[in-house]
Amino acid sequence: MTAAIAVGALVAAGVFLILGRSLIRVAFGFILLGHAVNLLLMAAGGLGRRGAPIIGPDGQPPPSPADPLPQAFVLTAIVISFGTTVYLLGLARAQRRGDQSDDAGSPP
């Protein structure tokens, strides 16, 4: 239930921000949406099993191990979205030379 609430709150806030006028808020909205998707992926693995998927010294996984596959997905997603965030901020920065506005409605 909590995962659903968290995803819902992140999506609602993210959508609200990306539909606004401020370019910064649009970027922030996308970061929130990224979090929402990562939570969803993790939830898809099943939140009933929460043992870290690391094999113990005895060669056995912990009791009730979490699904490692969504974790690998999310790990990749986090790094990639970091790359895109950095690039978006770079674009905003490079575009702003001489233009101090933060209006998503104004053409570049």
């Binding site: 995962a3 609430i5 819902g8 709150a9 539909l19 910064i24 099943g46 596959l69 790094v79 970091f82």
Partner: protein, 903 residues
């Protein structure tokens, strides 16, 4: 094999053309002409079989599922057109060296002309309709470039020619698709053999209409004829080769091919006959009115093509035979005339028929050659034009498409030919009679005249000697109409109807010529050829319509675009709720800690939305990130949590750099204020709330209700045994799914590349000390070695414990970021750590590891265990570490430098 060699030879010549032009200048044309002759000789080796009725073919599968193959086929009709393409091509290329001026771009003109020759050869050799279409479009495109190469004045005509001919090309493609759908093959011979099958379907009529449109656009028939006179802005070799002898004959070729299917069909016959004759007469009238020699020849070409189309429409064996012969004759005399007009234009500086009178006295050879070709055009014995004109009359008289069709068609053909005779004689009169206008002219060099001379001589000799052509003509006609008995051409038929019609033509034409002043006065009332203007108007209107349609979806803001997927998501969720019944399994219960984390998360998210300062928003966003991190820890994902934590810190650092100079306050989110603001807030909220509900409902309904996934179980079971690593998530990244990770780091590398380009103009700001240098400087000197040591430790243990290349590199990125913050604008992390080598080394190591194991016989990127419990995946992880570190250095460097943009 011969066919492939011939086409390859043409391609080779095209590639060679620019090189030859650089070495030999404009004289390169002679070498290329020799090449054309050689290719013709090569094809000639297949001549005996072709004349014996055995087509030479070569075929490879191309798209077997659709019945499309790369088939080349040389039969009689193809052979006839090959003779035209290569023969006229060789003449034109040997005409170019003396015609081209030094300022022409020889390399590109020769390349395009030769490539066009190759394309045209491919068109007539194509044994598959799809291949034919490809070459068809190639000739259109090269025609566009050749017309456009004369500069600005060529732009509009070139675009018109391209649009009209490619429109026809699309019609042809549609026809081919229909044929392929019906017959399951696009092999030309198979399609033509399936005549009854094609005719039996309703699609048969559509295919016929589309083929006719394609042919009419290419061969400049009404109402598409306007592009051809416009194309005369091109240099003379182009007009002679493309727009008189070969490319415009591609439509004729197509019609002749499809005659095998459609001969005798009333719709086909009537359309071709009516449009062809109308075009022939209109074109001839316009030609008679022209004083500019090139325009005269252009309209004359339109008119002659009209006669050919009409003759194909008649569809009887005699008419088809006449069309085949006249195609050949016309190419010969029209190319000659164009070349001579080019010479006259070069020497006399004018193309006005009234300016060249009395040319005979100063340029006797040129005038004589013009006379021969002109008489051939006029259809005067004993030239080849006479023979083909007579057979055309015979063909038209044989028309049976409606009662009395023969008489009507023959009468109209006589009318068109009389007009042709009239302007042909005008040409002759201009060259021979009248006072000499320019006495200082002299004959051009024999090299300049030779190509036109050869063609004129051929026109003269092949009239009496037309029997020489009979074997090839017979074969070509049989390929068009396998069931007919082709007639034999000869100069003298005896006293026949055709001779009477020829006599009538000459008599009528002479009257038209003698009464030329009165004729000119009448012709002045003939409406102008406004096709080009109408087409321009049409295309402008189309562009305006496109703009109007596009404007409906053009917004200055980003929100209308971003709203669409959200609306789609909400609708999808709504539909899902409607059909979803009985969710499987029980939802796992939440723990007490979950509620705490989620409560804080909702509060932090609300803060992000409502925060009114940029810095506050960044802080609130960081809080959200940290809470999500906590959530990951509680969900049993330590690696994910660690990565997210580091990414959040680095994002904050980058954002702090990136947001410098942005307004520090954000517009407040509230429902008061100006109505525009208010409605924006309401709009966003109205979409946001259902989207959030939909996402929550989806998460609740679709996740966590099943057993562990088979893939996850598998990894947990075999990870340690297969890879020697105990951290299952990391073994997935570096061992099981190494290729995915390689792709991922390539994305990061391109981000670094993009940033480098974005900030290419940035320079370090001049020695301004960072605000906290006194504090952060020592801190960095103290902390950096510790951080780096920690990161190396994380890298080494990553296979077994939380850590790994990504996390280690992000930790090292902290040291770099700290350095940037403490050093301000003067900071150069690049002193020791240069991003480019780091990224390149990282990529090379990762790819190298993958390739090295291939050398040992394993598939790409398979992890291989080595001594001391180490495996190649550690090396792979080192590559990942280096690359990600390089990206971090790039990001931090570039953003910290960005302050120093030139104003």
């Amino acid at each position: 094999m011969v066919l492939v060699l011939a086409l390859a030879g043409m391609a080779g010549l095209a590639v060679l053309a620019p090189i030859l032009a650089r070495l030999l200048g404009r004289d390169a044309g002679y070498v290329l002409a020799a090449g054309f002759v050689a290719v013709a000789g090569l094809l000639g080796t297949a001549g005996p079989e072709v004349l014996a009725g055995e087509a030479t073919t070569a075929s490879w599968p191309w798209l077997p599922r659709f019945g499309v193959s790369l088939t080349l086929r040389l039969d009689g009709l193809s052979a006839l057109f090959c003779v035209l393409v290569l023969g006229v091509g060789a003449l034109i290329l040997s005409y170019c060296p003396r015609y081209l001026k030094p300022e022409h771009s020889h390399g590109s003109i020769y390349f395009q002309l030769t490539a066009f020759g190759g394309g045209m050869l491919g068109l007539v050799l194509a044994g598959d309709l799809v291949l034919l279409y490809v070459f068809w479009e190639l000739t259109s495109v090269l025609s566009f470039f050749l017309i456009g190469s004369v500069g600005a004045r060529g732009n509009a005509p070139a675009v018109r020619a391209l649009l009209v001919t490619t429109m026809g090309g699309l019609a042809l493609l549609t026809a081919i698709v229909l044929v392929a759908a019906r017959l399951g093959t696009t092999d030309l011979a198979a399609v033509l053999a399936a005549r009854d099958q094609v005719l039996a379907t309703p699609l048969g009529d559509t295919v016929a209409a589309l083929v006719i449109v394609a042919a009419f656009t290419k061969s400049a028939q009404a109402p598409f004829s306007f592009w051809l006179p416009g194309a005369m802005v091109a240099i003379t070799p182009v007009s002679a080769y493309l727009h008189a002898a070969t490319m415009v004959k591609a439509g004729i070729y197509l019609l002749l091919r499809f005659t095998t299917v459609y001969a005798g069909q009333p719709g086909w016959s009537l359309t071709l006959l009516a449009v062809g004759l109308v075009t022939a007469i209109l074109g001839a009238l316009r030609a008679l009115r022209e004083h500019d020699l090139k325009s005269l020849l252009a309209y004359s070409t339109v008119s002659q093509l009209g006669l050919l189309v009409a003759a194909i429409g008649v569809g009887t064996t005699v008419a088809l035979a006449a069309a085949v012969l006249h195609t050949f004759a016309h190419a010969l005399f029209k190319a000659t005339l164009f070349m001579l007009v080019g010479i006259i234009d070069r020497e006399a500086g004018s193309r006005d028929i009234r300016q060249i009178s009395g040319l005979r006295r100063v340029m006797p050879v040129t005038a004589t050659l013009t006379g021969i070709a002109g008489l051939s055009l006029a259809g005067v014995a004993p030239l080849i034009g006479f023979v083909s004109k007579e057979s055309l009359f015979e063909g038209f008289a044989s028309a049976t498409v409606f009662p009395g069709a023969g008489a009507v068609a023959a009468a109209l053909a006589v009318a068109a030919s009389a007009l042709t005779f009239a302007y042909g004689v005008r040409l002759l009169y201009g060259a021979f009679a009248g006072p000499t206008m320019q006495r200082t002219l002299y004959e051009p060099s024999w090299l300049f005249l030779a190509p036109a001379g050869i063609a004129a001589l051929a026109s003269a000799v092949l009239g009496p000697g037309v029997v020489v052509l009979n074997p090839l003509m017979h074969r070509a006609i049989r390929d068009v109409e396998p069931w007919g008995t082709p007639p034999s051409f000869q100069l003298w038929h005896g006293f026949s109807l055709e001779l009477v019609l020829s006599g009538a033509t000459i008599a009528l034409g002479s009257v038209l010529f003698l009464a030329r002043n009165r004729v000119d006065r009448i012709l002045r009332h003939l409406p102008e050829d406004r096709g080009a203007q109408r087409f321009e108007g049409f295309s402008a209107a189309l562009v305006r319509l496109g703009a109007a349609v596009g404007r409906l979806d053009h917004h200055r803001s980003t929100w209308p675009y971003l709203a669409r997927p959200v609306v789609g998501l909400v609708l999808l969720a709504g539909a899902g709720l409607g059909v979803a019944t009985g969710l499987p399994g029980a939802y796992p219960p939440s723990r007490a800690l979950d509620w705490g984390v989620v409560g804080l998360l909702v509060a932090a998210v609300t803060t992000v939305v409502l925060m009114r300062t940029t810095l506050g928003s960044v802080a609130a966003l960081g809080s959200v990130g940290l809470l999500v991190t906590t959530w990951f820890i509680t969900a049993g994902a330590p690696d994910v949590a660690l990565t997210l934590l580091l990414v959040e810190i680095l994002t904050a650092v980058v954002a702090a750099f990136a947001l410098r100079g942005l307004p520090s306050r954000l517009a407040p989110v509230r429902l008061s204020g100006p109505p525009a603001r208010r409605s924006e807030t309401i709009r966003a909220a109205v979409l946001a709330v259902p989207a959030g509900l939909a996402a929550a409902a989806g998460t609740f309904a679709l996740t966590g209700r099943r057993d562990p996934s088979a893939a996850g179980e598998y990894y947990l079971d075999v990870a340690e045994e297969a890879t020697g690593g105990r951290n299952v998530v990391n073994t997935i990244l570096v061992d099981f799914r190494g290729l995915d990770t390689l792709g991922e780091i390539s994305v990061l590398a391109s981000v670094a590349l993009g940033l480098t380009l974005l900030f290419a103009g940035a320079r370090p700001a001049a020695g301004r000390p960072a605000p906290y240098e006194s504090l952060l400087g020592p801190a960095q000197r103290l902390l950096a070695p510790t951080i780096v040591a920690l990161s190396l430790y994380l890298l080494l243990r990553g296979h077994d414990e939380p850590g790994g290349g990504f996390i280690a590199a992000l930790v090292s990125g902290m040291a770099v970021a700290l350095g940037a913050l403490s050093g301000g604008g003067r900071f150069r992390a690049a002193r020791g750590l240069r991003p480019a080598p780091l990224i390149a080394t990282g990529l090379l190591v990762c790819a190298g590891v993958g390739l090295a194991v291939m050398a040992a016989g394993h598939p790409f990127l398979t992890p291989v265990k080595g001594p001391l419990g180490l495996s190649t995946s550690l090396l792979f992880d080192v590559g990942v570490f280096l690359l990600v570190l390089g990206v971090m250095v790039t990001a931090v460097n570039r953003f910290s430098l960005a302050e120093g943009f030139p104003p």
